[in-house]
Symmetry: C2
Subunit: 250 residues, 2 copies
DNA sequence: GCCTCCATTTTTGCATTCATTTTTTGTCTT
DNA sequence: AAGACAAAAAATGAATGCAAAAATGGAGGC
């Protein structure tokens, strides 16, 4: 009997604080859902590994009923898969799955940009500009981590500017699914592609200033498509980092 | 004690045929999920109505455990909402919710068109052309029902041509959420708008033939945006429109 | 007559229990 | 020793039981 989950043995915190991250903060199964989702998204369970309910139960300090409810939801979200009578597994994402997910993300951000052009305020644009220049600073200092953090903030700002909660939620869902890979992809960002990504961000900002919806939509899609290529290439070639030849980035 | 659900009293069919509409066809809770989803999507439960678990249980002929699992999933899908300690309600969609949903649908179809341009075959385009002319026939005969049916087939063909299962699933999810309203929206489409829609479909087909991804993306978004306007206007002007009793379509 | 407060009933949330399926393990045969 | 079969163990799927919260209803007070 091999344990798929590292024996952290951290019981769930009693219903103390309502960590209102998503929904259903109060109920036990809601808390379990949040914790389990984070647990899976953060990659604490190996891909494709079997996850015995009993083990998760004692890890979280609950009975099987709320756990199974949470598992059903996570399966609906696409994070895990439930094989009939054979338990839950962390969903293994094939290369094709990743391509699809990145494309949908690209479509959602493309949509966000289009919608943002309709109602975004000058102040919001100014805020994004500030982020942009901050990011540029990180770029000049070759501070990849800082760059990535601001980069994500910019993309989230655009999604927020779309003023569409449904879109925001959906976007967050997909972001969670590929978060693990996203990190690898970001670490794969290399010099040359980095410059390209900066130029694309310039174009994004420019289109946003002019409220050019269709144009921004196109640019964002292409920008994310390039991200996709970087991520897929990175995964395809394995763990070794090829510095010169791979077109990776942002 | 008022019963929110019409007393159909139809017990769930024993695990006979695997109606593999979505996922989890075999297990009882999977069957329940499919049945409940259809039941809600088809509008058998009034919006915002309280749904006692016990009642659903005896309606489906099961115990509360699988039912509650299905409810959690439906809540995650956005079809119902679960208030802590206060049961499940059919999610009431505000006008703003509908606008958001339509916009996301528009974004997804826009993405589908963009992706379709990359790999769509001449045969697939020819099939869509045939559907187009068939739809045109319905238009000339003022056969609204036939028109909508083919119209839906065309949009689904475009989504299929995108060759992205993730997108397809997500699209189906959102389509389910607004199906109820969608039908009213179609009836709201008046003569003049009908002609517009036909012209837009001509443009869609034209862009598709030329594999003009960005252009098709724009046209599809606008096309769906116009649909949205029709739906929202219709709902705004007719508050007496009983959504529960309207049949399903488009 | 209407409102308030409290007891009763119902309903929800979770734990536990039971039945079925899968997986493991041990033994026997070739 | 390797494979096949069978029994045991464990895990899953679903039903039931129990405590807590909410809804209901009625008596009493204003």
């Amino acid at each position: 009997m091999k344990s798929a989950i590292p024996e952290t043995g951290v019981p769930i915190t009693p219903p103390t604080a309502g960590n209102a991250n998503d929904r259903q903060e109060a109920s036990l199964h809601g808390e379990v859902l949040l914790r389990l989702r984070d647990y899976v998204v953060e990659g604490n369970i190996p891909e494709g590994a079997r996850v015995p309910e009993r083990q998760l139960c004692e890890m979280l300090g609950i009975s099987r009923t709320p756990l199974r409810e949470a598992l059903k939801v996570l399966a609906a979200e696409g994070l895990i898969e439930l094989l009939p009578n054979r338990g839950a597994r962390v969903r293994q994402l094939s290369q094709r799955d990743l391509e699809e997910l990145f494309d949908v993300m690209a479509g959602l951000e493309s949509l966000a940009g289009r919608l943002a052009c309709e109602l975004i305020t000058d102040e919001e644009i100014a805020a994004i500009e500030r982020l942009h220049y901050e990011m540029y600073g990180h770029y000049l200092h070759r501070d990849m981590h800082g760059y990535f953090q601001i980069n994500q903030q910019i993309h989230e700002s655009i999604v927020a500017a779309a003023r569409n909660e449904t879109l925001k939620t959906t976007y967050a869902n997909f972001a969670g699914r590929i978060r693990r890979v996203r990190y690898s992809a970001n670490f794969a960002r290399k010099r040359q592609r980095w410059g390209e990504a900066m130029r694309e961000h310039e174009a994004i900002l420019d289109a946003l200033r002019r409220r050019a919806a269709s144009e921004l939509s196109d640019i964002l899609f292409q920008h994310l498509r390039n991200k996709r290529s970087a991520a897929i290439d990175h995964l395809a070639e394995g763990q070794d980092t090829n510095l010169e030849t791979t077109p990776q980035g942002d």
